[in-house]
Every structure is written in structure tokens, then in C-alpha cells.
């Protein structure tokens, strides 16, 4: 019984982690940016969805859509006013740009987080679940929304796979990750590729944020933790590797669930951090990393 419970809960939480982390790793793969405002963008999506669904009566679906829309907007603003100006700056030496982007996104993330806390307090908000009620899966009482979360997360990731592998823009995206210089020589505008990847990222982070908000509830205080967990997953999976992040998300999700159920919920993240240290020692490129 407990094993099945761990299997179900672990699957839902891992799917959420995967959705959030894949966007994070995609940006790194394509443009070499580690976006430390990731958690704040997820929180923005959840809080906007909560606000619109509840206070403006848009209902769970309207709220979720607008929440994801808000995430895309914040994501593009992050790119437009934080990342791009640093990348374009002539005052910053090329080898220092990565660290400037890292610092810039970190500070931007804190600003977004503080604004959310100021306006909506740091009390967690719960997004209206897309479907209510519970179902009994072989004796395990499971909220329907938990099943919906896993399904939506996988649908989003499936659509991303189709986009990347079956469309011209998606293929250009992958090409940019492998050889950006070659891509520009083929006549592609790197700027619009970056814009595309930040938009896709916004959608994925938004979906992850809204779903997390409906599953566990999200507070502005969670922003740092969400960034850290995406970062851990991406490092574990291998920086820039989408498949690696997917595998790592499930390793992290299940390791956390096992710890919470079998040892103690208070130390659920500790084994993951230990694993991360071991991977960094023994296999610094991560599970499926290419650099």
C-alpha cells in the first residue's frame, strides 16, 4: 500500500519537477544562460492564476491560462531587461558575462519575489484545482487533480518534443544548442531563436508553477527553493541535456518521496543533495551531460 502511494505521489511530483527543469535546461543549452530567477517566475504564474481564478472569477482554466501568460511575459521581460543587455554590453568582458547574467537573474528574481510578497503577502496561495475530488487507485486515495497534473505535465513535454523534432523553428533551436555560429552562417537570426526559447521556457515554467500551486500551494518564500531544485535536477541530469533533466527529475522526485515516507518528511531534500555532491565528484558532467 505504502509502496503504491510512493509510486503515485512520486510520479506526480517528479512530472512537475521535470516540466520546470526542462525549460531551465533548454535555455542553458541554447543560450548558455543559467536563469536564477526561475523560482520567482514559477511563483508569479501561480499567484496570478490564484488571483485571476479567485478574485476575478475567471475559474480554474481561465486562471491557469492567464497564469501561464504572466509567466511568459515575466520570462520575456527577464530576457529583455536583464539577460540581453548584459550579453550585448561592451563594458563587460566576454568571459565575465556568464557570471554577470547569473548575478543579474538572481537579483531580478529576488526583486520579483519581494514585489509578490509585498503585494500579496508571503502566505502561500493555492490555485483552484482543475478538477476536484478523489479516486481510489487500488486502495490509495488519490486526488483527481494529482492525476491531471501528471497528464498535463507529460502533454506539455510531449508537445515540446514535437516542436523540437518536427518543426523548423524547433530544429533551429536544437541546432543553436549544438553550434550557434553554424546556425547564423545558415542565415538564421540568433536573436529570434533566443526569443523563441525564452517563450517556450515561460510556458513550461508557467505550467509547472500553476500546477504546483494547485497541488501543494505556492508562496513567494518558495522561489529560492524552486530555483535550487531546478538547478539540482539540471546539474544531476547534465547541464543542457533535456533527456538528462527528465531522468534526473524522476530520480529527485522519487528519492524525495522515499525519504519523506520512509524516513522523515523534514529531511526529504537531504539525500538528493548528497547524491548531487557524489555526482559532482564522480561524474561532473551529470548523468547524461555532454559538456
Amino acid at each position: 500500500m505504502k509502496a503504491l502511494q510512493i509510486l503515485i505521489d512520486g510520479f506526480a511530483i517528479s512530472s512537475l519537477y521535470a516540466t520546470g527543469a526542462i525549460g531551465f535546461t533548454l535555455i542553458f543549452g541554447v543560450s548558455g544562460v543559467l536563469n536564477l530567477s526561475h523560482g520567482s517566475i514559477m511563483v508569479t504564474a501561480a499567484v496570478v492564476a490564484w488571483l485571476v481564478a479567485g478574485s476575478f472569477g475567471a475559474g480554474p482554466y481561465g486562471g491557469a491560462l492567464i497564469g501561464v501568460g504572466a509567466s511568459v511575459i515575466v520570462s520575456l521581460v527577464t530576457y529583455g531587461i536583464v539577460v540581453r543587455p548584459i550579453q550585448k554590453s561592451r563594458a563587460i568582458a566576454r568571459e565575465e558575462k556568464e557570471i554577470f547574467v547569473l548575478t543579474g537573474t538572481l537579483l531580478w528574481g529576488i526583486m520579483v519575489q519581494e514585489v509578490i510578497a509585498y503585494v500579496f503577502t508571503n502566505n502561500p496561495k493555492t490555485v483552484l484545482p482543475l478538477i476536484g475530488g478523489v479516486v481510489n487507485i487500488l486502495g490509495v486515495r488519490t486526488p483527481r487533480t494529482e492525476i491531471a497534473i501528471a497528464a498535463i505535465a507529460w502533454l506539455a513535454m510531449g508537445l515540446l518534443w514535437l516542436l523540437v523534432n518536427r518543426t523548423r523553428g524547433g530544429k533551429a533551436l536544437m541546432a543553436a544548442a549544438i553550434n550557434p555560429r553554424g546556425l547564423t552562417l545558415c542565415g538564421f537570426e540568433l536573436g529570434s531563436i533566443h526569443l523563441l526559447v525564452w517563450t517556450i521556457y515561460g510556458v513550461l515554467a508557467g505550467i509547472a508553477g500553476v500546477l504546483l500551486g494547485s497541488f501543494l500551494g505556492v508562496s513567494s518564500d518558495n522561489a529560492g527553493q524552486l530555483t535550487a531544485s531546478a538547478f539540482s535536477i539540471v546539474v544531476l541530469g547534465g547541464l543542457g541535456s533535456v533527456t538528462g533533466s527528465l531522468v534526473a527529475a524522476y530520480v529527485v522526485g522519487y528519492l524525495e518521496s522515499l525519504t519523506a515516507y520512509l524516513v522523515n518528511p523534514s529531511i526529504r531534500t537531504v539525500p538528493v543533495l548528497l547524491l548531487l555532491v557524489i555526482v559532482v565528484y564522480l561524474r561532473p558532467q551529470g548523468l547524461l551531460g555532454r559538456r
Binding site: 505521489d9 511530483i13 508571503n122 502566505n123 496561495k125 484545482p129 478523489v134 508562496s219 518528511p265 523534514s266
Partner: protein, 408 residues
């Protein structure tokens, strides 16, 4: 001669100016230190300001206005200590109303003693706050404890549980679920003592980390132990356990302390998942604990759009008690203020305040019990906070959502 006549109106004008400035005496400043971005903390400065505005509209205290100076401590003891020092040394406040977090108040206590700066907390609960005053009265006498100590909260929950759970619903077993914090140490200790006395056997005692986001494993464990009720002690966490309790249809009622549930925004924050949650508090909107309760909560809601959290009621009362103490002391001398505060006998929004003296181990805590402050038990029912205990304020029977299974 001519020149002297010309000076006459100028002299008169000068004299008028001098008279006016004597009338506009400098305000009496009260510092308010709280976390502005949390639901419980945000009510503290707002309620204090409301009280100050009312007092000022009536002419102030000793002919001087009351000015509220607010500091956001971001729930950090370090920030709070810095704010306290600034309040005392630079902003020259005469009294400080500080925080609802026990850890923060415990960090401020020695500073109140060192700087001879009177202080009261409107919401922190740890017994240690008043025990520290008892152990070293001469130094610590500047601190007042303006909320129930944890032990009394636990006793109040047990009294209500006896009537509502044991007598009415024949419950026999309980699991205590509290967050890991300074205020819940004495709370849990008293729960473990008083619950068996009223006939509820404690089958497990779970302390959860305030950082917990996923409560599924915790509820799963509790459900496996088949208790009749979960007795709660939560304040830093609130939305997440409540939402997950409802989403997962955990069939066991939650009853006890849930500080975040005291504000009206909690229904919206949890999308109604709080339906059926039962919590102990000092006062609640719409419950006339005293004639002052409803006018205050109505004015507060009109001005700020939501009802105050539990710490809002006490913070509002604190400003009035401080103003009375300043009047009685004839000024802001800290030692005279302490003596005047000790003589407080004031009916506020949560009951009648009389502070315990230095011979009580709960020194400078308000007296709890009949004729003083008792506390009430409220349940969220269909979007409203409805008082269900004690009988003299109860407006409805305790009722739970259909997924909660009560013992037959």
C-alpha cells in the same frame, strides 16, 4: 517712536508663533516591529495605526499626538534587534510593540532590559517570554506579554475539546501535529498532559518542519494510526496542510491552533479548503467578546479590506493600554510606565486585561480565565468564521465536510 509702532505687529506675530509651537508638542512615538509581508504580522502595524488615529482624533495623550513608527523585521531576529535599537536610540520611541514570532521576541527581551525600553508582544506565545521576566524581574521588567502563553492556549484547546470532541462526539484518540518552533514546545508539552486528562489518548506526536511543502506523507502516517482527531499547533504553516487535508480528503478533523486561519483572507488563500477547520483564538470578527470587538474588526475591514489576524486585536488593545499607562505615569519615563502598565485593568477587544505580577511564573502575562480573557473556538463554515465555543458566544454547532468521518 515711529519705528517702535511698526514693531508692534511683528512682536505680536512672533508671540503667536511661539504660543502655537508650544501647543504643538512633539508626538509620543510608539515603535511597531513586525513582519509586514505575512498575514499575521501585517495586521500588527495596521491595527496599531487605527488605535493611534482614534486616540489622536480624541485629542491624543497629555496633549500630545501618538505617532506609530513601523519597522519590518522580515521575520528575522537580527533585523528585529536592529530595528529595536534604532527605535530606542535614533527614533526615540517610548514603547515598542513587537512581533508575533516567539523566536524574535525572545531575541528582543534582553535589549528591552538593556535599553530600558518598555515592550509588549501582541502575538508571540512561548512561555519562556514571561518565565524570563519572572527569573530576572529587576532587569526584565520592561517586557510585557500581550498574548496567551502556549500552555494556556493548550489548556483552552483542551477545555474546548472536552466539550466538543469528547462529550459531543465521543472521541477517544488524537494525534498531536505541531510545527517545529519555540512556541510549540510548551504547547505540545501541555497538550500531552491535558489531552489524556479529558479522555483523549494521544497515539502519536508529530512535529513538522515549518519548511514542509508536501504534507501527504504526514497525513498518510496519521491516517494509518486511525486517530479520531488531529490536534494542531500551526502558525508559520497553514495554507499548505489545510489545502492538502481537503484535497486528499483526509477523513480526520483538524482541531486546535491554526493562526493563519484567524484572518478572513484564509478562505480565499485556500480556495475554501479551510471549510471545517476548527481553531482557538482570542477574538474573531463578528463575535462580540466585548463591546469593543466588533466595532474594531468592522473599522479594520473597512479600512484594509480584510479582517485582522489574531495579533491585530491585541496590537490595537496594546496601543490603548500604552496610552492609558502614559496618562497614569504623567509622561514617558520607562520605569514609571512599567509601574503604570502593571496596574492595567482595561477591557479591550479580546477581554479584560490585568497583568500577572512578579510573583507569578507567568510575570507580565495577562490573566487568563473567567472574568479576564478566555479565548474562543471558531470554525470555518461555508466561507464564514463561526464561533462554536464557549456556549455563551457560540452561534452554530460544529460541522465537518462530508469527507471527514466522525466516530459513531
Amino acid at each position: 517712536m515711529k519705528r517702535k509702532y511698526w514693531m508692534l505687529p511683528a512682536t505680536a506675530a512672533f508671540a503667536t508663533l511661539a504660543f502655537n509651537s508650544a501647543q504643538a508638542a512633539p508626538p509620543i512615538k510608539i515603535g511597531v516591529i513586525a513582519e509586514a509581508s505575512s498575514v499575521s504580522g501585517a495586521s500588527i502595524p495596521k491595527a496599531a495605526q487605527l488605535a493611534a488615529d482614534e486616540i489622536n482624533a480624541e485629542g491624543g495623550v497629555l496633549g500630545r499626538k501618538i505617532e506609530i513608527v513601523t519597522y519590518d523585521d522580515h521575520n528575522s531576529a537580527t533585523d528585529a534587534v536592529r530595528a529595536f535599537q534604532r527605535a530606542a536610540r535614533e527614533d526615540k520611541v517610548s514603547f515598542v510593540i513587537a512581533s508575533y514570532i516567539s523566536e524574535v521576541v525572545l531575541a528582543l527581551e534582553p535589549w528591552s532590559a538593556r535599553l530600558h525600553m518598555p515592550m509588549i508582544t501582541p502575538g508571540a506565545a512561548s512561555d519562556e517570554i514571561s518565565h524570563n521576566i519572572y527569573k530576572d524581574y529587576n532587569h526584565m521588567k520592561y517586557v510585557f506579554h500581550g498574548y496567551f502563553p502556549s500552555t494556556f492556549i493548550a489548556d483552552s484547546v483542551c477545555d474546548a475539546a472536552k466539550d466538543l470532541l469528547v462529550d459531543e462526539h465521543h472521541m477517544k484518540t488524537a494525534v498531536v501535529m505541531s510545527e517545529d518552533a519555540a512556541w510549540t514546545l510548551p504547547l505540545d508539552a501541555e497538550y500531552l498532559k491535558c489531552l489524556p486528562k479529558i479522555g483523549l489518548k494521544v497515539v502519536d506526536h508529530i512535529r513538522v518542519s515549518p519548511d514542509t511543502t508536501d504534507f501527504t506523507p504526514i497525513f498518510n502516517k496519521i491516517e494509518g494510526e486511525k486517530p479520531d482527531v488531529i490536534i494542531t499547533g500551526i502558525s508559520h504553516v497553514g495554507v499548505q496542510p489545510t489545502v492538502q487535508w481537503a484535497a486528499q480528503h483526509v477523513p480526520i478533523p483538524m482541531f486546535g491552533v491554526s493562526s493563519q486561519a484567524t484572518t478572513s483572507t484564509f478562505w480565499k488563500d485556500t480556495n475554501g479548503a479551510t471549510n471545517g477547520v476548527v481553531f482557538q483564538t482570542a477574538a474573531s470578527a463578528g463575535v462580540p467578546v466585548t463591546p469593543k470587538t466588533n466595532p474594531f474588526s468592522d473599522n479594520y475591514e473597512k479600512k484594509f479590506g480584510a479582517t485582522p489576524s489574531y495579533a491585530g486585536y491585541t496590537s490595537y488593545d496594546d496601543v490603548y493600554m500604552i496610552a492609558d499607562a502614559i496618562k497614569a505615569a504623567g509622561g514617558t519615563n520607562p520605569d514609571k510606565l512599567v509601574t503604570a502598565m502593571e496596574k492595567t485593568d482595561y477591557v479591550g477587544t479580546i477581554g479584560r486585561y490585568v497583568f500577572n505580577g512578579k510573583t507569578s511564573p507567568f510575570t507580565h502575562t495577562f490573566k487568563v480565565g473567567k472574568g479576564y480573557i478566555t479565548g474562543i473556538v471558531v470554525q470555518w463554515q461555508d466561507g464564514k468564521q463561526v464561533p462554536i465555543w464557549p456556549a455563551n458566544v457560540a452561534k452554530a454547532k460544529m460541522t465537518f465536510p462530508s469527507f471527514v468521518k466522525l466516530p459513531q
